[in-house]
């Protein structure tokens, strides 16, 4: 069943178009940067963008920084929101269930395909960014690769830290996915589920910047989203990363639990 779901998702042109578009944006940014050599001043604009001018090897991290706030969550939300509600809309949900596919099993299969989508999307962006970065922005002398703290970084260290970033961003996206996924078991409209997931995200982003919401800030899902920048400090600053990982984990577990509890007990009337 898991294999079938994955094939269903990745057999769709729509899936690949969304991944292509995700890769397109950082590429366009890289083209402009390489043509003009005008980067945002350090400390402004998306993370790392000023640093990549001198070294394209840092560009994957910068590219993730570009797609993380909006584009990646949109793509993930759509895929996750579509999962159950989409089947309900086409009417295929009832035929899957009477085939029979156990309800828990269906959820696990859908969740697996969403997780794979998140990973593929994040990897695709990183790899495209690496290729684009090295070709357009140049690799620069190895010693020039520096951390945010200003110390040098060897290529292997850089590689490990980039992979950690990919996983951290993927985990954050799974948080968005679980909101949309839960909503997808609640409604028969994929659009409502996807937009619901995005609204939760926007809501959280607004509250994070609000001083009056200081007390709850640390528990908001997007609070530690940008903590992956800390992977590029020397030494790695684990505190926020760990917290972000845990907070996100709580959201994922609770929302998936709710999705399961709801879907396994509800009447399927679609």
């Amino acid at each position: 069943m898991i294999v079938v779901e994955i094939r269903k998702l990745f057999g769709r042109r729509r899936t690949w178009v969304s991944i292509f578009l995700l890769c397109l944006l950082p590429t366009v940014v890289a083209v402009f940067l390489s043509l003009t050599d005008i980067g945002p001043r350090p400390g402004e604009g998306p993370a790392f963008l000023s640093a990549v001018l001198s070294n394209g090897a840092l560009y994957p991290a910068a590219a993730l920084g570009i797609v993380l706030p909006i584009f990646l969550p949109i793509a993930v939300s759509i895929v996750a929101g579509e999962s159950i509600a989409g089947e309900a809309t086409t009417g295929t949900l009832r035929y899957l269930l009477v085939r029979p596919v156990g309800r828990t099993r269906l959820l696990v299969a859908k969740l697996s395909s969403i997780t794979l989508f998140v990973l593929v999307a994040v990897f695709a962006v990183s790899i495209t960014a690496l290729v684009v970065g090295l070709n357009l922005l140049g690799s620069g002398p190895v010693v020039a690769t520096t951390t945010v703290s200003g110390t040098p970084l060897s290529p292997s260290q850089l590689g490990i830290r980039t992979v950690l970033t990919i996983l951290y961003v993927g985990w954050s996206m799974l948080g968005v996915a679980s909101v949309a996924f839960f909503l997808s078991t609640l409604t028969d409209s994929p659009l409502a589920a996807a937009l619901g997931g995005l609204s939760a995200l926007v809501g959280s982003t607004v509250l994070v910047t609000l001083d009056a919401a200081d007390n709850v800030r640390d528990y908001l899902p997007t609070r530690y989203w940008l903590a992956w920048v800390d992977f590029f400090r020397d030494p790695i600053l684990w505190r926020d990363i760990e917290r972000g990982f845990l907070v996100q984990g709580v959201y994922v577990v609770v929302l998936l639990g709710m999705a399961w509890a709801n879907f396994t007990t509800r009447d399927v009337t679609s």
Binding site: M1, V4, R94, Y95, P100, T265
Partner: protein, 314 residues
Amino acid sequence: MITTHGLTKRFGRVLAVDSVDLDVREGDRYGFLGPNGSGKTTTVRMLLGLVYATRGEIEVLGEPIPKHVRDVLPEVGALVENPAAYPHLSARTNLTILDASGPPTDRASRRNRRQRVGEVLEQVGLASIGRRPVKTYSLGMRQRLGIASALLGRPRLLVLDEPTNGLDPQGIREIRELLVGLNRAGTTIFMSSHLLAEVEQLCTRVGVVDRGRLVAQAALTELRGETGRTLVRVGDPAGAVGLLDGRVVGRDGDRLVLAGTTVAEATARLVQARIAVHEAAPERRTLEDVVLGLTSHGSDRVDGDGHRTEQLQP
């Protein structure tokens, strides 16, 4: 094959199905009749474990539902309301995906999947459909595909909700012949319908549901009992009316409806009086008479009497 006891489903304040006791036996072609919104589809969904009953018990193939739904459903083929398929994929891919989603059985294994897909497409008349995506199909073709997917697992029991929806007369006949053939080969068929003529031609047993309640359940021949009146078609209707004075309760051209007599007595008297008898038979109730006598308006008709709307399915 299907037994329910006191099966009840309440959606909020709406009582969709009200203590229904179904009894579908092995080898039946069971017609589940009722006006629109009388609870047919909800009942079908409960039989398949899609909707959970508020009260009552369900047994399908001897196992309790929804508890053992996983053991039962591989042996059941179903069409619930409309057929559904992934619109961007072909019929063949849709069937293959659906089959791969569920557990294989002895009769429907992974190894004979390709063969089964070809078989069912042929059975429903979609053999040369090719690779066109389902979104280009006509209503009738989708319906055929829906029936194909119900047959895919070589089921012992077919549960079909309005199986001939959207088919033309030719298609209806084909599907009817297909279902009769499958039934002869041992498949029990449970179909719901609001088309009386269809049930009359296909089914051996009938259950009639009205506003969520099962108001009749019997063999078709039993329901369609004789009315006690006699129908004759004669060469000289005016003469016959004179002869059988008082017995004639209706006349339509050369056809007479007689009461208080039998076929034997009426024909004997007519022949004695040298009136030609073209046809003579006891009058039988049509299924339509029976069902219309037992049921109320469908819920798609909303008249002034507001109390009925409370019985609607949401």
